[in-house]
């Protein structure tokens, strides 16, 4: 029998290959990839012994898994199934919460969309039509605040009047700041629309503003009469 050193020397001398190449050839031969054995006694002997060794290893009987392990696996399966069901139950409230947030989000988007859609309009005719159509909608507090600001910023009296007509439907949601518009507003049609809202509201609160308006110099006579009329009802 050759020593390992002798074997290595033989491999090098006769086949001009290193040990790695020799091992690769050996496995190819054992696996049946290469049908032809290297013509050497040592190679053939080694291959034969390794094939026998592999055959012996494959013959070692497989140990069976014990039933208590199978039981443990079944317990784990049951646990996984119930965990899955529990997780669905656990996820449900979060899902419901997320859905609620989405609903609120969409409501918010819808609320914001009136203003953003309005800002996109370029002609006064379109703006008037848009605000007129808002009579068909239920306005939120955000919408009302936006429209109150529009009265301050808008120059076109027709648009202002249309907004005021719309806001008269929400009289209870209008605050003192809104009625202060009486002090600065000069256009008679706008003032009349404002006074229509005051008339339907608890006007006692705005007595001072009404008196100031009534005494304003150069005020349109119809407006003055309307203001006096409201004050007289008091």
């Amino acid at each position: 029998m050759q020593s390992i050193k002798e074997v290595k020397e033989t491999i090098k001398k006769f086949w001009n290959m290193n040990e790695d190449q020799f091992d690769k050839e050996m496995m190819d031969y054992i696996d049946g990839v290469s049908k032809k054995a290297i013509d050497n006694e040592h190679f053939k002997e080694e291959a034969k012994e390794l094939r026998q060794l592999l055959s012996d290893l494959k013959d070692i009987p497989l140990k069976k898994v014990e039933t208590n392990i199978d039981e443990e696996f079944k317990r784990r399966i049951v646990k996984k199934t119930s965990k899955k069901q529990r997780s669905v139950r656990r996820i449900w409230p979060y899902f419901a919460a997320a859905a609620s947030i989405l609903i609120v989000f969409f409501i918010f988007i819808r609320d914001r969309s009136f203003e953003s859609d309005y800002q996109k309009l370029k002609t006064n005719t379109d703006k008037l039509g848009f605000i007129y159509n808002l009579n068909q909608e239920q306005l939120s507090s955000n919408d009302i605040n936006w429209l109150k600001n529009e009265i301050k910023n808008e120059n076109n009296p027709n648009i202002k009047v249309t907004i005021l007509d719309l806001l008269s439907n929400y009289e209870s949601k209008l605050d003192k700041e809104f009625f202060n518009a009486l002090e600065v507003e000069t256009t008679p049609t706008v003032l009349m629309a404002l006074l229509n809202i005051v008339e339907n509201s608890n006007h006692v609160e705005y007595e001072e503003e009404l008196l100031a308006l009534s005494e304003r110099k150069g005020l349109d006579i119809t407006v003055r009469q309307k203001a006096d009329e409201i004050l007289s009802i008091q």
Binding site: L57, I60, L62
Partner: protein, 179 residues
């Protein structure tokens, strides 16, 4: 009747059918248990590794892509677990004592075959952990060199050479023990 393929079972498991895991367990339990036992030489550890393998198959099934072959994917999980085991236990060298009870419970009446099996396992225990793993991947799990190379992060040629070297070492150990 045609057997449901591993790929279909993994795909079903991915979709939430836990029953498919049971079918895979029945299909692979004996093979994996013996794979772990012949590498670790530890009965209890092998049972734990077996359970952990199927826990991981369940856990990672969501990442399984049906275009991949299922068997190498499953084997990789089992093989990675043995690596983790040796990393944790730091028993990467030869086993001090291979649990020979894994072969037969009756020590007194061994026939030639049983005696040789015991010697084989005893010699196997003297290989280092990587050699034991590679030999068992090759002859027990019948993994290809490509699959072994993927698991061991080496080239296919090196996988072939490592299998050969481990087998030669095992043969030498057996010879030294007089067989």
């Amino acid at each position: 009747m045609t057997e449901i393929t591993d790929e279909i079972l993994l795909d079903r498991l991915k979709k939430g059918d836990v029953h498919s895991l049971g079918v895979l367990y029945e299909r692979y339990k004996t093979l994996f248990f013996n794979f772990f036992l012949r590498i670790t030489g530890d009965y209890d550890a092998s049972n734990d590794l077996l359970m952990e393998t199927f826990d991981r198959i369940y856990k990672y099934s969501s990442s399984y892509k049906p275009i991949k072959k299922a068997r190498p994917w499953i084997y990789q999980i089992a093989s990675n677990l043995t690596k983790d085991y040796f990393k944790k236990s730091k028993r990467t060298k030869a086993l001090e004592e291979m649990n020979l009870e894994i072969l037969d419970d009756n020590h007194e009446f061994l026939d030639d075959g049983e005696y040789r099996n015991r010697q084989l396992m005893s010699a196997m225990g003297q290989l280092n952990a990587r050699e034991r793993s590679i030999i068992n991947m090759y002859y027990l799990l019948e993994m290809s060199y490509e699959e072994i190379s993927g698991n061991e992060n080496i080239s296919v040629n090196n996988a072939r050479i490592l299998v050969c070297r481990a087998l030669k070492k095992l043969k030498k150990l057996l010879k030294n023990s007089g067989i």
